[in-house]
């Protein structure tokens, strides 16, 4: 068996006296589609923050592509092939949508050395990405002109612009209509088809069940289940966590 793309072992994170994550073990294979679910406050976003370097974890280790990520800054991890969308959209407010996407192209893609883009190729790439998420006609608008839903799409497009090996889609579908959810799922499938490993963090079960090959469940900072989606949702502990006794 080949080395997993992402290897998390014994990961722990505390905020003062509160244990946000405890002894998380999780392996993700290259090209896999993983769903990560859990009730609010169960530590899903904290886990993403620890993997992407926004937060420093206190215990355990994270390895990506066989190399340890410990001690690397967030931008080094992004350049290494990790990308994430923020659950609450954090666009660059004074830059147009196209310029928002230009940042990861200039600083993540071009910093990798090979396959860098320049001049009009960057503009073309920004346009393509925006049309993938359906924002092409707003390329020169500012983020403040967007609806919350459009901002989520921009978040996703910006993460995609970094051309990651592993993409965290952190609740990009919240608030979207049925048809829009289908669009985003199709988009994530397309990305996955191009070889991008996708970890979907989502409350919309229809999307998670349709997309994921595997499902991991976090409850109160612990991983309580990990396996085939159909089995996991029938797991007694998972049902209890979601529905109560």
């Amino acid at each position: 068996m080949m080395t997993p793309l992402l290897q998390i072992s014994g990961l722990g994170k505390r905020f003062g006296g509160f244990t946000a994550l405890q002894a998380i073990d999780l392996d993700v294979q290259e090209g896999e589609r993983l769903g990560l679910i859990g009730p609010n406050g169960s530590g899903k976003s904290t886990l993403v923050n620890c993997i992407c370097g926004t937060l420093r974890h206190d215990a355990g280790s994270v390895r990506f592509g066989g190399k340890t990520l410990d001690g690397l800054t967030a931008h080094q991890r992004t350049r290494g092939g990790l990308a994430r969308s923020f659950q609450l959209p954090r666009p660059f407010g004074t830059l147009s949508l196209a310029e928002n996407l230009r940042i990861p192209i200039l600083y993540a893609v071009n910093a990798r050395g090979e396959g860098g883009l320049a001049g009009s190729a960057i503009d073309a790439r920004c346009r393509d990405l925006l049309s993938e998420v359906g924002l092409a006609d707003k390329a020169h608008r500012l983020p403040r002109d967007l609806t919350q839903i459009e901002m989520r799409k921009l978040e996703l497009a910006r993460a995609m612009a970094a051309q990651p090996k592993l993409l965290f889609a952190d609740e990009v579908m919240a608030g979207l209509s049925h048809a829009e959810i289908d669009e985003i799922i199709a988009l994530l499938f397309r990305l996955n088809g191009q070889g991008v490993t996708v970890i979907m963090i989502e409350h919309i079960m229809r999307a998670v069940m349709q997309f994921s090959q595997r499902l991991a469940v976090l409850v109160a900072g612990r991983k309580i289940a990990d396996g085939k989606p159909a089995d996991v949702v029938r797991d007694a502990e998972v049902v209890r966590a979601y529905l109560g006794e």
Partner: protein
Amino acid sequence: MGSVPFVLALVCVAAALFAVGRWLNISYAFFAAYVVVQYIVLGTAWNILGGYTGYVNFGITAFFALGAYSSVVLYKLVPSLPLPIMMVVGGIVAGLVGLGTGYLTLRLRGVFFSIATLALAVVVQTLITNWDFVGGARGAYVLRPRVAPLIGGDYIQYLFLLMLGLCVIVLTVARSIEHSALGYGFAAIRDDEGAAEASGVPTLRLKLIATVLSGGFMGMAGAPLPYYVTYLDPASGFSLNYAVNAIAMPLIGGTSSWLGPVVGAVLVGGLQEYIRVTISSAVNVLVAGVLLVVFVVLAPEGIVGLFRRRRR
């Protein structure tokens, strides 16, 4: 406009200004214009850190006076050293201090960074005041040559020419930053530092580049000061006016483009000079303050921002 035509246009404007000054041949005009151009440089330098990356630096006088006092030191050691070299040295000294300050303070965000820079100004002023070699609290005299080197005429003309040259350089750098990857990185930091990191922007490195450029240019702007005033003491070198004006001018003109500090400096600097002559030398400080408040409330994007919005 491409970079080369821009520089040529800038040089032409500067040359025309200087030619008009030579033709008028009024010393006062040079003294007044020097101040305005100096503020264009200071405002633009402040804007590289404050406007582009969003880190508000209150310690302008520290960098400015470091430039001025490094000229005093050089004057005492090697009186014959040409002023352009002193400006380069002043820029290097202030740039290095900018680098050090950046390392120590850039992990602070927002207002905490600003307070730290304010503290820097106090620390540097205290050190200079207690350094006997540069005159301490008594101040230092610098005798300037009667005749300007190279160009002849009054020495103030030479000072003005140097400041014009520096202004061309600083504006060129500021404008090329705006249109480069560096400028996009700065803007990303200003808008959301965490999201910038997540997009691959090496935020700390970029912020250090900004503090070095910003501090260095402030130092270069301060280096000719001893020759301009001929008597420099800490109270005048560290005058609050420099800090207030260098912040007010970009904010009034607009922080999003290189043109903002130019518009702000010409407008406010010109107005101050006019009021200094016609009304009183104390009222002129009020101008920057009042205009700053008016603009922050009514037009936070400055004059350039007002025009941009209309065009959209």
